[in-house]
Symmetry: C2
DNA sequence: GTCTATAAAGCGATAGAC
DNA sequence: GTCTATCGCTTTATAGAC
């Protein structure tokens, strides 16, 4: 990808974070990137094209920071439950990049209620994420039945998104959202552990 | 409120459920209600005015059907936990009115990320709802500490909204969403009960 | 109160010069 | 590749008759 394209997509990501997917105006993306609207069309054909590339761009960045969380830390061996908590809590950070990602993801979800075309992509990404969480849950609770871990993962990811929108709209403070999510992880892990013994 | 105003707001509720808050067109509201666009402006001043009244209208309807669930059933005395489950599960019904309400509520939430003006109203309604859930939780678990019940209520309402958007966009079936929510209620109630003994 | 007709503005998209 | 200028459609909002 050329630098110009990247610059425009970065601008688009900021605009999505500020106005939402539905509030995105091509002229605002151009202004944000410091180029003319014609150039945006030249590189991305039309508004859906801009949106498609911007969302892919944002998704790539998200993969980068969530998979980084999977790596073992320098601090030595870590409790699997702590690793799961750390991974999920990555969504609640006050970094511009993370806010942009969370905002875009929430918009995608909300928009999918009215736009069936988005659902397939959303279902794939969501299933992959839930599977990752379920995997970490079974590592934390070896021997836990697969369906139980799957259901727990679905609840945790749905809860995370419910909390995410509250955080992004300023209805709960970041620390509180993190605390609620952490408590939910412990609840689910304890419950899974209890099904074994 | 006059009949005409009510007719227009009912139309607006259907349009919001079909197109979303951002997708609402005044002309479509008018067509849905079977009146001219000018009449819509006459009664509600401008687009934000239509939106404001429509969302209040929808909120009132939601109050009506959720508070109805609080009443004792003819079937006799009911477990408090079951009453809580029943109340929360009301959000997952395939009735047009319920879908409209859930959709509009989800839209309100999603939109509030970008529109600070919506937050106050949302905070009030959300707090009242969470308080109701917390109250039922303490009835189910007498002696449970207030803050613990409050946190459980926040998790349950956030989870419900996370599941709601998945249901409305067809990513999970209704029965599955209900099952996940019911399991979460039991998890939270059991946990609260354990803090006492 | 309700309508038809239209003004005014916003926005996606393109033409054509450089 | 990049810009300025503009076209054309959509949508909000109002004027004025009834």
């Amino acid at each position: 990808m050329t630098d110009r394209r990247r610059t425009i997509l970065e601008g688009a990501a900021r605009v999505i974070a500020r106005r939402g997917v539905r509030g995105l105006r091509v002229s605002e993306v151009a202004a944000e990137a410091g180029v003319s609207t014609a150039l945006v069309y030249y590189h991305f054909k039309d508004r859906p094209g801009i949106l498609r590339h911007a969302l892919a761009f944002i998704g790539d960045r998200a993969d980068r920071y969530t998979s980084a969380a999977q790596e073992p830390t320098a601090a030595g061996p870590e409790d699997p439950r702590e690793r799961l908590e750390r991974m999920l809590l990555l969504e609640f950070q006050d970094l511009p990049e993370v806010r942009e990602n969370s905002t875009a993801w929430g918009e995608l979800r909300a928009h999918s209620v009215f736009d069936p075309e988005l659902r397939e992509e959303l279902a794939t990404a969501g299933a992959a994420w839930a599977a990752e969480v379920a995997e970490l849950l079974t590592v934390a609770c070896p021997g836990a039945p697969g369906p139980a871990a799957g259901a727990a993962a679905e609840r945790l990811t749905a809860l995370l998104e419910g909390l995410s929108v509250r955080w992004l709209s300023g209805l709960v403070r970041q620390a509180h959202a993190r605390e609620l999510l952490r408590a939910a992880v412990r609840l689910e892990v304890d419950r899974l552990a209890a099904t074994i013994t």
